[in-house]
Symmetry: C2
Subunit: 243 residues, 2 copies
């Protein structure tokens, strides 16, 4: 692992990259201890604060964890699915909000991916996951529910559907799509009638999942997508007309 002191890039960035490469390539394995900050500053011929900045960069990506004390130090961190989920959600959310991605684009991506999970979920969902879907449908039917809570329940419903596929990699990928849509969905006001329609489609999907009928679930999701998009279109149109 070498760095170039004459490079234009920050030393801390170079050091972080060098260590990151070692982790990704497998030179450093999970739970392996890195040299102490003092040793690293010797190796790279930089000061300790610079090494520390590099280590903080890695810690921010959950690539390492640090521990104080006699046997402490920086250790290569096992990237857990949970950590990856939350990173994914943050990144997706920012990506959508900062690049003014249209509702349609985000919606299309989300439902395309979700339909990919439906057949698997129809085969593998646990009774518990099905129960969660039913419970969320019930919750959605409460008229006292705010629009935000309705959206949150919607996310929980779809999360259960996706998790039903029993494929953690799929769940990880979908987490971003589903959750990052929530801020966009929150911009929509749900009338009693539109809620009714959505709930009915949710029931239809849950029925298909319960029956193990992946095709029917996929069709239900297709309907839900067009319903969501037309609903959003009318809300946005109404808002534009108001101006």
């Amino acid at each position: 692992m070498k760095i170039d002191p004459n490079s234009s890039a920050d030393l801390s960035a170079q050091i972080a990259q060098a260590i990151k490469d070692a982790i990704v390539s497998g030179d450093l394995i999970v739970d392996q201890r890195l040299p102490s900050e003092a040793e690293l500053s010797d190796q790279f011929q930089v000061s300790r604060p610079t090494v520390r900045e590099a280590l903080k960069r890695l810690a921010a990506q959950s690539l390492i964890r640090t521990q104080r004390g006699a046997t402490g130090g920086a250790f290569v961190n096992r990237l857990s699915f949970e950590e990856a989920y939350s990173q994914q959600i943050t990144t997706s959310t920012l990506l959508l909000s900062m690049n003014s991605v249209s509702f349609d684009t985000a919606c299309e991506a989300r439902y395309a991916l979700e339909r990919a999970c439906a057949p698997l979920s129809a085969l593998r969902r646990t009774p518990d996951q099905l129960a969660t879907m039913r419970a969320e449908i019930f919750r959605q039917a409460q008229p006292s529910l705010t629009d935000e809570a309705f959206c949150a329940s919607d996310v929980a419903f779809h999360r259960a559907l996706v998790d039903g596929a029993a494929n953690p990699v799929l769940s990880y990928q979908l987490a971003g799509s589903v959750e990052a849509m929530q801020p966009l969905m929150n911009m929509i006001t749900f009338s009693a009638r539109s809620r009714e329609k959505i709930i009915s489609l949710h029931s239809q999907i849950a029925d298909a999942i319960e029956a193990g009928d992946g095709e029917a679930a996929t069709l239900g999701l297709k309907d839900l997508e067009s319903e969501t998009r037309s609903l959003a279109a009318s809300v946005f149109a109404a808002r534009a007309a108001q101006k």
Copy 2:
């Protein structure tokens, strides 16, 4: 934005989180300049090195960029799709390698998601993207190609297919699935016969995409998935028997 000096968490982590929250919530908008390091250390009542560690954490996530000089400072960074892609690929790769995700699980997720793109790609792919797919198929037919180069070409083929959907959010999500599979695929040796089969399926898929037949493309991907999985199974079985 406040931090708790008595918390167990590192001060730099708390400060980074506070600023991150401000960015995600929209309190800080793209290209907005953060206070200088000196001002931040005043505000948070910590030393400058601590502030710097916090800023490096944010820089590692591409949330800010820094600039030296009189009008320099730290600025909220627009998270570009390119940056998000590469983050996504790194995270997915590590997730798979560190959690010993099975080939089947990764493969299933990858093809499930890719099938979701196929119908859209059949409708929208540009001539250029189709040409890329054809070119990669041609490359794959060269017998001199190493197994690694064959895999790389495979990734390029599928990348073109996914990009054909003309939905950047989909492309972003798929980038992880497709590219993170490559290290797993690289563990497989491709015999002349298995290459022939894969190339034929690729052609079939490209034909379907060219004809605008999403359903046929989806079926081709299904076949490709089972072919890939049975190929992997036999390679792994042979390797196990050799021991």
